[in-house]
Amino acid sequence: MTDATAGAAAMDAAVVDPSNLPDDVILRVNHLVKEFPITKGIFFRKQIGAVKAVSDISFEIKRGETLGLVGESGCGKSTTARSLLRLLEPTSGDVWFRMEREGEEDEIVNVATAKKDLLREVRRDMQIVFQDPYASLNPRMTVASIIAEPLLVHGEGTKSERLDKVKDLLKVVGLSPEHANRYPHEFSGGQRQRIGVARALALNPSFMVLDEPVSALDVSIQAQVLNLMDDLQDEYGLTYLFIAHDLSVVRHISDRVAVMYLGKMVEMADRDALYDRPMHPYTHALLSAVPIPDPHIEANRERIILEGDIPSPANPPSGCRFHTRCPIAVEGKCDVDEPEFRELEAGHWAACHFPEVQQVF
């Protein structure tokens, strides 16, 4: 099993020695599972089932890249993000994260099992920006105290040093340092999202989860925030996990893209490979459904209209989870055997029994 760390088998937890994490990989997720119990009764809360929000996914993120994670509501993309920061306790699986400290050797931490002190330490490097800029900022705190809070929690600097840092951060995200003493309600949605970004940057993280950071914003403001994220990545060498349901936004920002459906990863590839040559029928349908702001192209596009709705993750279909809506499903195969998530071309992974390169445009 010595060569197992290379290539396809590198995804398998059982054979991975975390100290062999390639230098360019910052995060590796192995067989991550997150289930939410369904309970019955008021007193005994007997468990009668489980919603398998994330069921057995593995992937890695390279240092400095942006991995886009897309899927429709309920596919498990946000649960994945929260589990790997351990904002939710994973049911099983490993999340190996490379913790970099100046002048020291990198430490590989399993976030999924890390004890409290270590978890706190590793979280300096892993930050998150939330979707709703209205709900994610405490309305009773000034902008300065919101942005300085992570510094305070980690005992960094004196009060005046923290304030200087806050002013720097405000400038970095395109706000004025004079805004430090205002409250969140005095800002527009786009400005609030900038405050959320400044807070995430406060501890100089190496990795940021961006959970639908622009979906609550108007188009013209969306573009400003996307440009900001691009600039920050260039400036600080950040690694992003960018979660969104908007496939156009994800194409714009990502280097690689992973597609989820009902708690499973169905396809993962380099950005252009995924958008121009998708191999999984779900990815193909998803891409064909996204409108393009160009009347000539729209007039000539062929849409694949999927039938029905997404099944309940509490009771997912047998075999391939997509077979109930799949235009190319084969009876006796797709409804029985679960397809393996395998590497079909270099760097292009898909979980389908009958993968075929499709043309979208």
Binding site: S220, A223, L226, N227, R303, F361
Partner: protein
């Protein structure tokens, strides 16, 4: 020449709040022809939804008030109708679909009851006839087991199915005009494709005019004939979809197009975003409302509110002092490639 279906003439709808008067819609005029599919595009607070609510007679005094204007629907001024007469028009001749299908349906009545209520209100039919019409309406929106599903409650339907029911309800009385206010914003992209496909098919079959209100220029590109772009309570540009997407005359339209990420954009160019944020509609800037965010503003823009006037292609209008001097078209990124590259049958 036949009479237009809808004439909106200098509509002004204001709301009074503690902070001041909100001029949500401030002097817009346009016409709609029978069977036309019109997109009304704008960002939050641009006044697009208030325009729709004004046409539907759903602005409730004293909070909101239509201050001036005429709304001629088939020659009749809707603003002069009393509540009973308006009730006849609303739901009967003009129907509306809302963004959130869950809040638009009553959770304690079955889908069938709610559909039949609309039909009985507007058509002179018996209960059993109304039932037949309702079942047909559900079948028309491609929901299987229609007679069975009549007895279900809204919570037993998924989001996409509920929006289908809203469409069924809207179209059950064969209206001349359907106003759809962000009908797919709350839905996933594959469901959105289903719903837009269905709406297009039904509108074409029946010749229903549709006013599609949305922030999504992508949805408009595949559905509408013509577009109005709204900004801070006014229409800043209007024209056919080709005019707006390939030959924008107003800097805001141009900025909006440049701000959009595109699924087919392989180049990953920097988005040329519009700086700043829309003005407060309580405290509008003097002159052109877009001036504080405009890259091309001059002195006159700060003084005179530009009127919507003919500029660009025939039939196209824009409200910009400098429309002629600006060659916005040539500044659209990747304009050369806007001719579609279609690979026929490639997806087989």
């Amino acid at each position: 020449m036949s009479e237009p279906l809808l004439v909106v003439d200098d509509l002004r709808t204001y709301f009074s709040t503690e902070e001041g008067i909100v001029r949500a819609v401030d002097g817009i005029s346009f016409t709609m022809e029978a069977g036309q599919r019109l997109g009304v595009v704008g960002e939050s607070g641009s006044g697009k939804s208030v325009t729709a609510l004004s046409v539907m007679g759903l602005i409730e005094p004293p909070a909101g008030e239509i201050v001036t204007g005429r709304l001629l629907f088939k020659g009749q001024n809707l603003l002069e109708l009393d509540e009973d007469q308006m009730q006849e028009v609303r739901g009967g001749q003009i129907a509306m679909i809302f963004q959130d299908p869950m809040t638009a349906l009553n959770p304690v009545y079955t889908i069938g009851d709610q559909l039949m209520e609309t039909i009985l209100l507007h058509q002179d039919v018996s209960r059993s006839e109304a039932r037949e019409i309702a079942i047909q309406a559900i079948e028309d929106v491609q929901i299987p087991n229609a007679s069975q599903r009549m007895m279900d409650y809204p919570h037993q339907y998924s989001g996409g199915m509920r929006q289908r029911i809203m469409i069924a309800m809207g179209l059950s009385c064969n209206p001349d005009l359907l106003i759809a206010d962000e009908p797919t914003t709350a839905l996933d992209v594959t469901t959105q494709a289903q719903i837009m496909d269905l709406m297009l098919q039904l509108a074409e079959d029946r010749g229903t005019a549709v006013m599609l209100i949305t922030h999504d220029l992508g949805v408009v590109a595949g559905f509408c004939d013509d577009v109005h772009v709204m900004y801070a309570g006014g229409i800043v540009e209007s024209g056919s979809i080709d005019d707006i997407y390939y030959n924008p005359q107003h800097p805001y339209t141009w900025g909006l197009l440049g701000s959009m990420t595109r699924l087919d954009d392989a180049q990953r160019q920097r988005l040329h975003s519009v700086r700043g944020a829309p003005p407060s509609v309580i405290d509008l800037p003097k002159g052109c409302r877009f001036r504080p965010r405009c890259d091309f503003a001059t002195e006159i823009c700060g003084e005179v509110l530009p009127a919507l006037r003919d500029v660009g292609n025939p039939g196209q209008r824009a409200a910009c002092h400098h429309a002629e001097e600006l060659d916005l078209k040539s500044m659209i990124a990747g304009d050369e490639t806007s001719e579609p590259v279609v690979s026929e049958g490639a997806s087989s």
